[in-house]
Subunit: 395 residues, 2 copies
């Protein structure tokens, strides 16, 4: 019997490796795997962050010119939200597309509930949030984002899970933040925060699930909701962070994913300015600005919060800058190549993976020595997502 099993195992491994890549072996653990979006080809590759290699490629995910994803609690499945409203369930263990549906005309992101049972997608066309079963992608419920002023619905952005099996999201056109309790997912119970500010364009929840912050496009400022004290409502902070500045044309909206508390500060990319904003957690006042070489897109904290890595909008998107959160200064400038799209830290922070779209490369750096450790071939890479996200609130 044992010999027979061994033969079986070998045959299975052989068949998995029949492509050019090593293959996605389903008999190893995948806690160190990740998924990289190939934005132009509607494909993703599965990578391994220990061996630092591309394992296999999965095609047929539609328009991934913008895409993000969340993971099932066992890490086996990535739920990919594509620009065309496609929702794809990718099997990270076996390296295959398990199911794909088109759930709307145009989508931007999504979330998985704390209990792992519901996938929520935030839509642009026709707007609103739709809920699906994580098991089979069957539709469970729909939350239209209609308001009096916007009876045809709002684009929804900044959708995230929150503790207590809740979802939180922002209505771009209507300027509202909605909180949905999913104890009975077929009948979400909604709490609405109105007039939170003009055009919230992205949002994120703090790693402990306490603060939900939405960046505003229509005015200077950030809308902040303290979920420990929802009765206080949404507060606008950093109201005049741009005062006196010459506002530049915005080449790309800054993303809020990856913001960090470090040293009692929160670091946020400024909109349309060459700055990283340093905000004091006590009173939520602007405590400083760090000058950058371009307009920041992502400002992401290393897991130990000692560094913030920043990438930039065109025409500076071949650079990376690293900020030291102790001295609040730029300590390093790197040039990975044209079209730096996204960064992802290994869970304990020793390495950072950087996607360099126009070079068809993912570059891996040591975050302490800034040494380039390895370059992987990936077709026009954008977002990089490690499976360890499965275990985090708000990712």
């Amino acid at each position: 019997m044992q010999v027979f099993i061994l033969i079986c195992l070998s045959l299975i491994v052989l068949s998995a490796a029949a492509s050019g890549l090593p293959g996605c072996d389903n008999q190893v653990a995948i806690g160190d795997r990740g998924v990289v979006v190939e934005r132009a080809t509607g494909s993703v590759v599965i990578v391994n962050s220990t061996s630092q290699e591309v394992l296999c490629r999965i095609n047929g995910l539609g328009d991934l010119s913008h895409a993000s994803m969340v993971f099932s609690r066992d890490e086996q499945f990535a739920y990919v939200f594509g620009r065309d409203g496609g929702l794809s369930k990718v099997d990270v263990l076996n390296g295959r597309l398990q199911k794909r549906i088109i759930q709307s005309g145009n989508a931007i992101g999504g979330a998985i509930t704390q209990d792992g049972k519901i996938i929520a997608v935030s839509n642009y066309e026709p707007g609103g949030v739709r809920l699906f079963s994580a098991a089979d992608l069957k539709a469970i419920a729909s939350i239209p984002a209609n308001t009096k002023q916007f009876p045809d619905g709002s684009k929804v952005v900044g959708l995230t899970d929150a503790p207590g099996n809740q979802l939180i999201f922002s209505l771009y056109n209507a300027g509202e933040i909605w909180q949905a309790n999913l104890d009975d997912p077929a009948h979400p119970v909604i709490t609405k925060y109105r007039q939170i500010g003009s055009l919230p364009y992205d949002a994120l929840i703090s790693p402990d699930g306490r603060y939900y912050m939405a960046g505003l496009f229509g005015e200077d400022g950030i809308a902040k909701l303290d979920l420990w004290y929802p009765e206080k409502g949404v507060q606008k902070i950093l109201l005049d962070y741009g005062k006196g500045d010459r506002k530049l044309p915005v080449y790309k909206m800054p993303h809020l994913e990856g913001w960090a508390f470090a040293n009692d500060f929160v670091f946020l990319p400024a909109m349309g300015r060459h700055q990283l904003l340093v905000v004091s957690k006590h009173g939520w006042q602007l405590a400083g600005r760090i000058q950058l070489l371009g307009q920041p897109v992502f400002a992401m904290a290393r897991p130990d919060a000692r560094q913030i890595w920043v990438n930039f909008a065109y025409p500076d998107n071949h650079w990376l800058q690293v900020i030291d959160t102790k001295s609040l200064t730029v300590v390093k400038k790197l040039q990975p190549g044209p079209g730096v799209m996204h960064m992802e830290f290994t869970p304990r922070g020793e390495h950072v993976w950087v996607s360099v779209r126009d070079k068809n490369q993912v570059k891996i750096y040591d975050t302490r020595t800034f040494q380039l450790l390895k370059t992987l071939s990936v077709e026009q890479p954008s977002g990089i997502f490690f499976t360890a996200r499965a275990h985090q609130i708000g990712l």
Copy 2:
């Protein structure tokens, strides 16, 4: 070929399930698995936190009357530190003991380095720290804990990894904290902090890897090292937290694992007192005390830091109390049964698993409703460890 593979797979699954338990299937993802120590029988069981069941049992791990463990970065392996100095490498995917060595006479805990390559074990007999290859448990180096006053060496406790591929640990007898850089693991470079206080008995690093805090047994107080400012040295805080109190005999030392920052406070179990200490992060002064029904052993924060769950030393070890970190009051008292040993939260905090030694049960509670969800049969359970720990600094 495909049919053949299918037959193979079925046979493998069948053979795995030949015991009474469902078996540890190696063709599923294990991001939601965990390992529970069976303290009296030298065994561990592999559990699944989604299906909430015991999958398989692994025997032959020696004396586990005290045990802790760390995980490999892919989550496949648990390195179990037993009381008899045994170091066991358990394959969580396949449910088997891969390797076991006896590395000393008496050990208490260990760590895995940030790069995942080195397993470090802190020893009581003969003291010191030993380093092993995570791949094959081959000995790499030994760090004797000898000092002038204690030429025969010190017991080592509170061993943890720190960012930058470092280890930190405390010398119980000598009252020192040592920091080891493992860039060249065969030749660790040691920085020593002397006279940090009397008899450090346990320690932990904050989730961001910044603060190392060691509880003192020989005096009231906590030794705190800020790794962002090592030049400031070790500072003693909470020097007189017991002033005026009647000191009770200590039935069991409080453990520091699981401490939390919440609402700008740190929560620590008091030694020999029926109290949880509330420490302000600003100035590190005692900000309050929360009266408890017994001597706390573990005081563990739910991942969203909204609750602290506390278990107790004999004669109160059949209770659990839950503290609300917003109101700083006890909001719930539960009675899981005699011999409550340890608790572990699911990574996003919706459930807590509690080991009830004298009932041979692990109980699973909903942390929001406090409802008992399920009771599992486990032989004298103590420590519970989910695989998601693989991705965290200091766990």
